[in-house]
Symmetry: C2
Subunit: 215 residues, 2 copies
């Protein structure tokens, strides 16, 4: 799925990569053929040396004074992220956040295809969100195994998060994107990425209070 060189990239580099991708796609739309680390750095208000180091992980060799071919760099990055081959995912928790994620068209460009959503609330079952039927959670394991689903998305409340994670692991899911407000425990061979809005809000609250003139 990913290029060898990239796998060893440090986490901060991995976090910056999708941002570079967006900038490069902008350049591509504008008809720009070449992009240097300095071009990318300027658009993002980063230091060129940092961008240069990150780019080195692509394994692509830049041309002096011109940089990289925009098309090639985009392909290398998409390949690295596995975004060139879509990953099918099952989502559990068809509430407001789950619905928003299912409606987020941008995921298609990011190689993520949410193929089904599951819930336990009987009034939701059989209804559709963005054209996809909400299925009963009891069918999760059977369907995940039959369709060889590797990625699971948890948008359920805190109280059921661990139970859903256990079910996903049992069903053979290898990567879990956890939007519930609690951490989950999984075996070492399962990857977890947690998105906790209260963490972002905490960081913003503290930044805001550090800026305010009151003592």
């Amino acid at each position: 799925m990913a290029m060898e060189g990239f796998k060893s990239a440090p986490l901060p580099t991995i976090r910056r990569i999708p941002v570079y991708l967006r900038v490069l796609e902008e350049m591509q739309e504008e008809g720009q053929e070449w992009a240097s680390a300095t071009d990318v750095a300027t658009r993002l208000d980063l230091k060129p040396i940092q961008v240069r180091k990150d780019m080195a992980f692509t394994g692509l060799a830049g041309v002096p004074k011109r940089g990289f071919k925009v098309d090639e760099l985009i392909s290398a990055i998409r390949d690295f992220l596995g975004w060139d081959k879509p990953t099918d995912a099952f989502l559990v928790g068809a509430g407001a956040l789950g619905s928003a994620l299912m409606g987020f068209a941008g995921f298609k460009d990011h190689g993520l295809n949410i193929v089904a959503a599951f819930d336990t609330a009987s009034e939701k079952l059989g209804t559709t969100i963005h054209g996809k039927e909400i299925l009963d959670l009891t069918r999760f394991k059977e369907l995940a195994q039959r369709m060889h689903i590797e990625m699971g998305i948890i948008t359920a409340p805190a109280v059921s998060a661990q139970r859903i994670a256990d079910l996903m692991v049992e069903a053979g899911i290898k990567g879990i994107w956890n939007f519930s407000p609690v951490p989950i425990k999984v075996p070492d061979d399962v990857a977890v990425q947690r998105e906790d809005l209260s963490v972002g809000l905490a960081v913003l609250s503290v930044k805001l209070s550090s800026l305010s003139p009151e003592k």
Copy 2:
């Protein structure tokens, strides 16, 4: 808004604080009166020494062998985060994600009160989401100034994010929570916290491919 000691806390500590808060609230619900760093660490699968160091930033003195009074620690943390006094926020971009955020009841516990949502699409204006009317973006500045709004939330597409950020700054907003897929530029006296789902997805994709047995 925040305690002095906490302001100097490093970012990783700040990120862990809301997670501690949730665990402590669980303990409170279970009727536990005292919590030690080890108790908290065990529930989160963290090292006790790390929790102990983070807790030191609260300025509270623990009691040997018992730890902290759960109620007092919760108050100290909520005070630190400014979550004891709700912050009013305006949201711009009443799409799927904006609606999900407006419907997220958890924000009330996190001291965030989204008081109004703005958009430019004429078909959305005058309709309501979770009981709040969608207002015309042209009214943002006047209303933000009149209501002394300090926090803005951007859930608009990439193409309009910077324009909205500029408008927020002009209207006196001091903290911006940016959910659009692009970074925004603001003056130094404005705090920004970015939530970019493509970053989380990138990290998960790379973790997933590092785990998979294929070369």
